[in-house]
């Protein structure tokens, strides 16, 4: 409960900051528009030469791109500004000031910066999913709800990986743009895992789990996911969150503050 109140407080603070930079809204909308446009251009051009990609036809691929746009929107407005700041906290010694506050440090670094203007991709992603569902006649409340739930658990997995990567800063001080790994993951996730050769599928499901981040929610939207699949997705998210949090605390125990 207290955590929720804190998150809302962080959100309000971020919103106040954001109001000062309203021009960013325009930049963000332009980025969202062009990135979604280029994604659709890629898709249509690929389908100009082929009829399916890894067994997925056009509506399913559109829904998949929709899911990745939503996740990318969340990266832009939440994961990137919050988690990417961690390495800078460590490098410049600001982390010491955060640690002495009487709240959970993971919670604080995770929700401290939210740039709401950069959420433009989310809207376009929702439109893409709805289009895909409409074209496949799978537009039901149940499918939509399951898809939303699995998007949340997919983002939880991505969050955990990112947090763990940023935690490396405790050992290496400057790990720089960890975000590049996340963006690479998302680029890979714009395609179904079945489009990759057999030997790569295991990696993309369990090691760089784009299957859970983009594929599973898209399948849910299309009504093609059974309850076992959904359950595995949710379990994967729980495991990832637990591991990420453990690694953060482990890293913290090895942290030798900036001034000592």
């Amino acid at each position: 409960m207290r955590s929720l109140r804190l998150i809302l407080l962080f959100l309000r603070n971020s919103l106040q900051v954001e109001m000062e930079y309203r021009a960013n809204l325009l930049a963000s909308l332009a980025t969202a528009f062009f990135s979604a446009g280029l994604a659709i251009l890629t898709l249509l051009s690929m389908f100009h030469r082929t009829t399916e990609i890894g067994g997925w036809d056009l509506p399913r691929m559109v829904a998949l791109v929709g899911v990745s746009l939503i996740v990318e929107g969340l990266i832009d407005c939440w994961l990137y500004p919050s988690l990417n700041a961690i390495t800078e906290y460590v490098r410049q010694g600001e982390l010491d000031l955060l640690l002495i506050r009487p709240i959970n440090s993971q919670l604080m670094v995770s929700f401290r910066n939210i740039r709401i203007w950069f959420a433009g991709n989310i809207g376009l992603g929702i439109i893409a999913i709805l289009y895909g569902m409409q074209a496949r006649q799978s537009l039901t409340v149940a499918n939509l709800a399951l898809c939303a739930l699995l998007v949340v658990s997919g983002v939880a997995i991505l969050y955990s990986i990112w947090l763990a990567a940023a935690t490396l800063a405790f050992w290496f001080t400057k790990v720089g743009e960890v975000s590049i790994i996340a963006y690479t993951l998302m680029e890979t996730g714009r395609f179904p895992v079945s489009a990759y050769p057999a030997w790569a599928r295991f990696t993309l499901t369990y090691i760089l789990p784009i299957a859970f981040i983009t594929n599973v929610p898209a399948e849910a939207a299309m009504g093609r996911l059974d309850w076992q699949g959904a359950l595995i997705g949710l379990c994967a998210a729980a495991v990832a969150l637990a591991l990420g949090s453990f690694f953060w605390r482990f890293g913290l125990s090895r942290y030798s503050s900036a001034s000592s």
């Binding site: 021009a23 051009s45 950069f118 680029e187 050769p197």
Partner: protein
Amino acid sequence: MRTARILHVARIWRQLLVQYCAVAMAYRVQSLIWMIGGLMPIATMLIWVELAGNGSIGGNGTSYGRQDFAVYFMAMYLLRQATVMWSVLILDRGIRRGELAPQLLRPVPPVWAHMAEHLGEIVVRLPIILAVFVLGLYLTGTLGSLTFPNVLLFALALVGSWLIFFHLHYCVGLLAFWMDGVLSLEPLIWYFTVILGGGAIPIDLFPTAIRDVLTWLPFAATLDFPAQILLGKIDAALLALGFAKQIGWIVALTLLRQALWRTGLRRYSAMGA
């Protein structure tokens, strides 16, 4: 007098390169993370190789088999890794936070230092990039398809690509003299480069109308053109045209960069920095 000046410039450059290679070495882990991020063209290659199967995918008078996709996207990997740019970040920070001011006092033009910073990073990364490149070609059984002249021409085109990218990013970064949010333009340049340059789909496989437009943009000149050279798919006429386009873009963007720098700097000093 003239040789003395050339020697002086050469000494500055040697010093800059030594300095920034050392910086890049100090931040090795960062370089490593960057390189993991660069693996995307290889994932794209896997998709196209799977799509082609044992046949080939044709369009606009050419066709790509799995071997062609392998060479094309390994070239993409090398090109994108060797042309990673962060000048937008440097200039945004330099201009908005005033970090540029001390650099202006040095007897070395800031643009040289920025170039050297990028080159130092490449020098440190190059052995690994080349190893991945050769290994990728070897594993896909395409290493033998390269010819010496093609590799040489590819290397030449790579230099052209680097210069175009550097100036493109630098011009966008210089916009920080006038606006606050240049950093948010960086992902845009990136999307345009990758998709319109052939990073997701070889330019030849786009629908004809789109392809005809794309071949005239700087993105195709920097990514698709060198990759085509490595593939050995283009004849002498297209080769000459491709290099002419590269030179044209380099000249145009250099002039633009100088104009932006001059007018921007006037504003900058007017702001009292």
